[in-house]
C-alpha cells in the first residue's frame, strides 16, 4: 500500500496536505483499496464549515459506503468536482485526487496527526 511522503494522516485513513493556511484533504490509498470500486462521492458545499472529527463527505463503493471525517477543522474553499463525474479517480490515485480544500481553522490541529512514518507503522499494526 502506498503512503505519500510529507502528508499527515488520521487513524480513519484520511490525509491532509498543508499549503500555508490552507490544506487539501483526501482518503488514503489504504482506504480506497479496502473500499473497492468507488461509484459515488458525496462532497460538501463550498463555504461549509466543519470541526475536526465531523463527517463532511461520504464515499460509496460497490461493497460499502462510509463517511469521511475532518482530520482538522476548517472552512471548505474548494471541492474536487471531477470526482462527481468520475469517482473511480480515487481508485486510480487516492493521493492525487483530493476531496476538498479547506482554510484551516487552527493550524496546530495538524500536529495531532500522524506523519507518513507514523502512519506506515500504524498500517503495519492494522494488517
Amino acid at each position: 500500500m502506498k503512503v505519500a511522503k510529507g502528508l499527515f494522516y488520521t487513524k480513519d485513513h484520511e490525509w491532509v496536505k498543508v499549503e500555508g493556511d490552507e490544506a487539501f484533504i483526501g482518503i488514503s490509498d489504504y482506504a480506497q483499496h479496502h473500499l473497492g470500486d468507488i461509484v459515488y462521492v458525496e462532497l460538501p458545499d463550498v463555504d461549509d464549515e466543519f470541526e475536526k472529527g465531523e463527517d463532511f463527505a461520504a464515499v460509496e463503493s460497490v461493497k460499502a459506503a462510509s463517511d469521511v471525517f475532518m482530520p482538522v477543522g476548517g472552512k471548505v474553499v474548494a471541492i474536487n468536482e471531477e470526482l462527481m463525474d468520475d469517482p473511480a479517480l480515487l481508485n486510480q490515485d487516492a493521493f492525487e485526487n483530493w476531496l476538498i480544500k479547506v482554510e484551516l481553522a487552527d493550524k496546530s490541529e495538524v500536529e495531532e496527526l500522524m506523519n507518513d512514518e507514523d502512519y506506515e507503522k500504524f498500517l503495519a499494526e492494522e494488517e
Binding site: 458525496e42 458545499d45 460509496e60 460499502a64 459506503a65 463517511d67
Partner: protein, 447 residues
C-alpha cells in the same frame, strides 16, 4: 370441532404435551390475571355460513358509493372515469397477486411497468426523474420534506395552509420525531399569502411546500412562489399537484419547482372510501442521490437485450440506515400499475380532454350555483375543478337535503378551517352531466 379449524381435541392435547402444558389457557399465563377476561365473550351462538354472509351483505349495503350516487365531493379524492381496460390489466394474476419484488431483477415485467410509470410521471410533471411511487399524496409530501432537510442539512419546513389538511397533519407527525420545525403560512384570498411567505424564508429554510391547484381548487402562482423560495440557500421548492390538472396546466418542471409530489388517485384508481391511494414523486437531477424509494433503470443484459434493474438506491437505506432520510423500501405496486395503464390509455390528448371537461363543467356549476346570489363564491381566483361557496345555511343542512336526492354534496370547509365556517368545497369531474349539475343547483336553490 370447529368447521374452519382443522385441529381435533386430540391434536391439541398432543401439541400441548409436546411443549409440556396441560391446557391452552396456560399459553396465556404471562398476561396478568386482573386484565384477563374470566368469562366467555358475550356473543350470540354461532351462525351458519349462509346466515353470516347475508348478515354481512345487509351491513355492506348500508354503504352508499359513487356508483349509485352523484358525487360533488372532492377535497383530495376525485370521481374521474376509470376506463375498463385498467381493471382488466391489473386483475391479471401476474400483477394482482405480486408484492413489490424483493428479488427484483427476476420480475422483469414488474420492473418494466414501474419504469414506464416513472417515465410517464417524469414527462407529465416535466422533471428529470421519478421514483417507483409512494404510499399516498400525504406521505409523498412528507418524504419530499425529509429529503429537502437532508439535502440542505437544515430543519425548517415552510408549508402553506392551502395544502390539504391531512398532508399537513402527516407532516407534523413525522416532523415531531425528526426534530424538524414546521411553519404554516396563512392563506389570503384563497391562495398562499406571498408577503407572509416572503417574511418566513431565510437561510434555515429547508423547503417551501405548496399545493396547486390548492385545497380550495385555486391555481397557485408557482413561478412567483419559486422565486421567494429560492431566496433561501439550498431551499427546495416542493409542489404537490393534481396529475389530471397537468393535462392543461403548465408543467411544474418549467416553473422552477425542484420536487413535484402528488396524489395519483385521479389516475384510474377508485375513491374506495379513502384508500389505498398512490403517492408519486418526481425530482430534478440534483436530487437523484437523495430521492427516497425505489428507482427502476433500463439497461442491457449479457446478450444485449433490453432489461430493467433497481438502480441508484441511496445506500443509506440498506447499509447506513441511521443516516437514511427515508426507510421506504416499498412502493404502491398495483395502484402505480393502474395509473400507468390509465395514462397510457388516455394519452396526452385524452388527459387534456379529461382536464378540459372537468374544468369546463366545474365552471358551469360555479356559474349556475352563484346565479341567484343565495350562494356566494368564497374566493375570486382562477380555479381548476373545485371551488368554494358560502351561504347562510349550515353545510350539514345542505348536504342532508342533497343526500335525499341521491347527491353527495361538497366538503365542509369549516371542519379544518374555522375561518371558513359555512364554506363548502365542490368538485366537478368530467363524469358529471349538465342534468346532474342542474339538479344540484335546483335542490340547493330549494333549501
Amino acid at each position: 370441532m370447529h368447521p374452519y379449524i382443522a385441529n381435533t381435541p386430540e391434536d391439541i392435547q398432543e401439541m400441548l404435551k409436546a411443549i409440556g402444558l396441560e391446557n391452552v389457557d396456560q399459553l396465556f399465563d404471562d398476561i396478568p390475571k386482573d386484565i384477563k377476561l374470566s368469562r366467555e365473550l358475550d356473543l350470540p351462538k354461532s351462525k351458519s355460513e349462509l346466515e353470516v354472509s347475508s348478515y354481512l351483505k345487509k351491513l355492506a349495503d348500508k354503504n352508499c358509493s359513487i356508483s349509485e350516487l352523484t358525487s360533488f365531493l372532492g377535497a383530495g379524492a376525485y370521481d374521474h372515469y376509470i376506463p375498463s381496460i385498467v381493471n382488466h390489466v391489473i386483475s391479471r394474476s401476474e400483477f394482482y397477486t405480486s408484492y413489490t419484488p424483493y428479488q427484483p431483477e427476476i420480475s422483469q415485467g414488474t420492473l418494466q411497468y414501474i419504469f414506464e410509470f416513472q417515465t410517464l410521471i417524469a414527462n407529465l410533471t416535466g422533471m428529470d426523474l421519478a421514483n417507483a411511487s409512494l404510499y399516498d399524496g400525504g406521505t409523498a409530501v412528507v418524504e419530499a420534506a425529509l429529503m429537502a432537510a437532508a439535502y440542505s442539512k437544515k430543519d425548517e419546513i415552510i408549508i402553506s395552509k392551502s395544502v390539504k389538511p391531512d398532508a399537513r397533519k402527516i407532516l407534523h407527525t413525522y416532523a415531531h420525531v425528526q426534530d424538524l420545525k414546521v411553519i404554516e403560512v396563512d392563506v389570503k384570498d384563497g391562495v398562499t399569502d406571498m408577503e407572509a411567505l416572503d417574511g418566513l424564508v431565510n437561510d434555515n429554510t429547508a423547503a417551501v411546500i405548496v399545493q396547486s391547484p390548492n385545497f380550495f381548487g385555486i391555481i397557485e402562482d408557482l413561478e412567483a412562489i419559486g422565486k421567494v423560495a429560492h431566496k433561501g440557500k439550498k431551499t427546495t421548492f416542493i409542489a404537490s399537484v393534481d396529475p389530471i390538472s397537468l393535462g392543461i396546466l403548465k408543467k411544474p418542471g418549467d416553473m422552477d419547482v425542484d420536487v413535484v409530489v402528488g396524489e395519483g388517485q385521479s389516475l384510474g384508481i377508485p375513491v374506495s372510501f379513502g384508500g389505498p391511494y398512490l403517492g408519486f414523486m418526481a425530482v430534478k437531477k440534483d436530487y437523484v442521490r437523495k430521492i427516497p424509494g425505489r428507482i427502476v433503470g433500463q439497461t442491457e443484459d449479457l446478450d444485449g437485450k433490453r432489461s430493467f434493474v433497481l438502480t441508484l438506491t441511496a445506500r443509506e437505506q440498506h447499509i447506513r440506515r441511521e443516516k437514511a432520510t427515508s426507510n421506504i423500501c416499498s412502493n404502491q405496486g398495483l395502484n402505480s400499475l393502474a395509473a400507468t395503464v390509465y395514462m397510457v390509455t388516455m394519452g396526452k390528448e385524452g388527459l387534456r380532454e379529461v382536464a378540459l371537461q372537468s374544468t369546463k363543467k366545474a365552471h358551469y356549476a360555479y356559474e349556475q350555483l352563484t346565479k341567484s346570489g343565495k350562494f356566494k363564491p368564497m374566493f375570486d381566483k382562477p380555479f381548476f375543478k373545485e371551488f368554494a361557496l358560502t351561504s347562510d345555511i349550515a353545510p350539514e343542512k345542505i348536504n342532508e337535503a342533497l343526500r335525499k336526492e341521491n347527491i353527495i354534496g361538497g366538503y365542509d370547509l369549516g371542519k379544518e378551517y374555522p375561518q371558513f365556517e359555512n364554506g363548502i368545497l365542490y368538485a366537478v369531474t368530467e363524469k358529471r352531466t349538465k342534468d346532474e349539475i342542474d339538479k344540484l343547483t335546483s335542490v340547493m336553490e330549494g333549501i
